[in-house]
Amino acid sequence: MADDLNYGYKGADVPQSFGNNKGVFDPADINNLVKDDKWTNYGQLELIETQTFSTVSAVDFTSIQESTYNVHFLTFSGIEGSTASNGGLQFYESGVLRTGGYQDASQFGTSGGSFGETRSTSRANMYFHNYGTQQQTGAYAYIYNAGDSSKYTFSTWHSNQPFTSSMTMFFGSGVMPYTSTVDGIRINVNTGTLTGQASLYGIKEYS
């Protein structure tokens, strides 16, 4: 603490909050405000981690800061598989990977004009991407409620998949229908390995 108050002014306790900081602050004041989640820090899409990987069977994000973020944002870029295969998302519950019981529903459509759906009430992951060889695809997903042990953890996703002979769009949503704290996210592939880059962001909210 820099002075007789937590933040800034001496002798007058000025209320502080995100977007409404008033006063003259020294570094200790700012540290106190950051610690108390009251410092105005523009940019609420916060990078947690980027991973670049080559020929791995899965990509794990194990420090997702689930107590800080209600909503996470996951991006894929330049991802290709060693063989054509489906893949998806799995979650860690207090450090333990859940490998079954996921539910999802997705819609797909191809540049060739065919459309369809895929859905399941019992899957080993939330299926949201097809990987192809020499096809560097992209995708993104939002993940909701990971840190709330009394709520299910949900996800929505969009991806483009230049799979087989035509480009495929794919969007959907799913749930891991268990009340638990999710503290890790796995990107998996059912067969073969993955090469590419993935980034995990938190969408910060100041209450």
Binding site: F18, G19, Y42, G43, Q44, L45, N70, V71, Q103, D104, A105, S106, Q107, E117, R119, S120, T121, Y142, Y144, N145, D148, S150, K151, Y152, F154, S155, T156, H158, F171, G172, S173, G174, V175, P177, T179, I203, K204, E205, Y206, S207
Partner: protein
């Protein structure tokens, strides 16, 4: 892409409807929802646009979306009525709280309609996840600064935050 929080509301007790404001220029905005839920089984959460003076209740809300349901038919859904009625439908009122990302386009432009894209998911009454993905438009050329949520039952929980996309 960056995000700048402009307003947030956390609901902790039964509320029939509420608003979130802060839209004050022609930027694209993003509405993020987590932990949204209702007080009784099968209740819904709908959405309107408006200003600090109130919501626009006219029947000018058009949308088209896919309903993504793991337990049955994946369907098309389109309508025109007095609100966007597809935000969360027939919610399971206990542990199935919904999440959503919605982008808000042209809200502040008084010469344009207001457009929304939906990326929503919650748990349906019977435990299956129920997603809504698509787009909608409020077909009135007017400046909108607020989002109004509710009208389908009492909302009991959730964090609702509007960000400016910067």
């Amino acid at each position: 892409m960056g995000l700048l929080q402009v307003s947030t509301t956390t609901i902790t007790s039964p509320t029939a409807s509420f608003s979130i404001g802060g839209i004050d220029d022609n930027s694209t905005y993003m509405l993020a929802i987590s932990n949204a839920n209702v007080s009784s089984q099968n209740e819904d959460i709908y959405m309107r646009v408006g200003t600090s003076s109130g919501a626009d209740t006219s029947a000018n809300y058009d949308y088209a979306s896919k309903t993504l349901y793991s337990g049955g038919l994946i369907d098309n859904y389109a309508t025109n009525q007095g609100y966007f009625s597809n935000i969360f439908i027939n919610m399971r009122s206990v542990d199935g709280s919904g999440g959503a990302i919605m982008y808000l386009h042209n809200f502040y432009d008084s010469t344009s309609s207001s457009f929304v894209t939906f990326d929503n998911v919650h748990t349906y009454t019977n435990l299956y996840p129920y997603g809504v993905q698509g787009g909608g438009v409020h077909t009135v050329n007017a400046q909108q600064t607020h989002i109004y949520l509710g009208y389908g039952g009492n909302i009991t929980s959730g964090t609702y935050t509007i960000y400016k996309v910067i």
